[in-house]
């Protein structure tokens, strides 16, 4: 969390519309910074894998 109290969040959702909807919804709150979005888990979220999600 940064000094302003804004949460840094990654969204993992394979449905594009839902993913984008979530991103916009959270960012519009002013309390969340969506730092990355991903459509898969295996390529980015599993800690044993070093590849990273695409920044929004």
């Amino acid at each position: 969390m940064d000094d302003s109290g804004v949460l840094r969040v990654v969204i993992a959702e394979d449905n594009y519309l839902v993913r984008e909807g979530l991103r916009r919804l959270l960012e519009d709150s002013g309390e969340i910074d969506v730092i990355a979005c991903t459509a898969t888990l295996s390529s980015c979220l599993m800690p044993c894998v070093d590849s990273l999600p695409t920044p929004c």
Binding site: M1, L7, L25, L26, S29, A39, L41, L45, P47
Partner: protein
């Protein structure tokens, strides 16, 4: 994950490739490797078993919300903040389901019986005597007697004033004893 070091991850429960429970597996893996990162799993399923699977190894830093909740931005932001500080969040609808199931179990006196005691009671409901139960379940006389007494005790049947065997069978039939599932999730054997 390492480079981004997010405060929280918001993930669908069903993700490629299997579209089953990958979100839950990822949540547990992320928490194991990155204990400072909270994870909220979104699900379309009001089935509490998914939530229980998520919280099986502990609930700290984990949340389970139904997708219906997405529309309430305040709830969603609250959930992300809660898991980020190590708290846990569970959708109220799941809590209601768990409470209803627990209450139903508590109201059913048969839920206190062990699987073997239920077997014995089922045989009693079929009209078998203790000797008949010994043969059908391959139990000794003393074992059957012990189970029968345990059944009477657990069903709180007084020793006098009623025919306890009949009262126990009535309780079994009224409770739909064949449908009793124990807390370990297994049907009676």
């Amino acid at each position: 994950m390492r480079r981004f070091s997010p405060d929280a991850v918001l993930t669908d429960i069903r993700m490629p490739p299997g579209h089953h429970m990958e979100g839950i597996e990822a949540a547990r893996a992320i928490r194991a490797e990155h204990p400072d990162t909270g994870v909220v799993v979104l699900s379309q399923h009001a089935d509490e078993s998914y939530a229980l699977a998520l919280f099986a190894d502990g609930s700290a830093g984990l949340g389970y919300l139904l997708k219906d909740r997405i529309g309430d931005l305040e709830d969603l932001v609250h959930a992300l903040r809660e898991v980020q500080v190590g708290g846990s969040v569970i959708d109220p609808q799941i809590v209601d389901t768990l409470v209803r199931r627990r209450s139903a179990g508590a109201a059913n006196p048969l839920s206190e019986l062990s699987p073997r005691e239920l077997d014995v009671l089922r045989e009693m409901a079929r009209g078998r005597t203790n000797a008949g139960i010994e043969q059908s379940l391959y139990l000794s006389s003393s074992t059957v007697e012990k189970h029968v007494n345990a059944i009477f005790t657990k069903l709180r049947l007084p020793a006098t004033g009623i025919h306890r065997r009949v009262a126990a069978v009535l309780a079994f039939l009224q409770s739909d004893g064949n449908a009793v599932i124990h807390e370990d999730g297994n049907p009676p054997t």
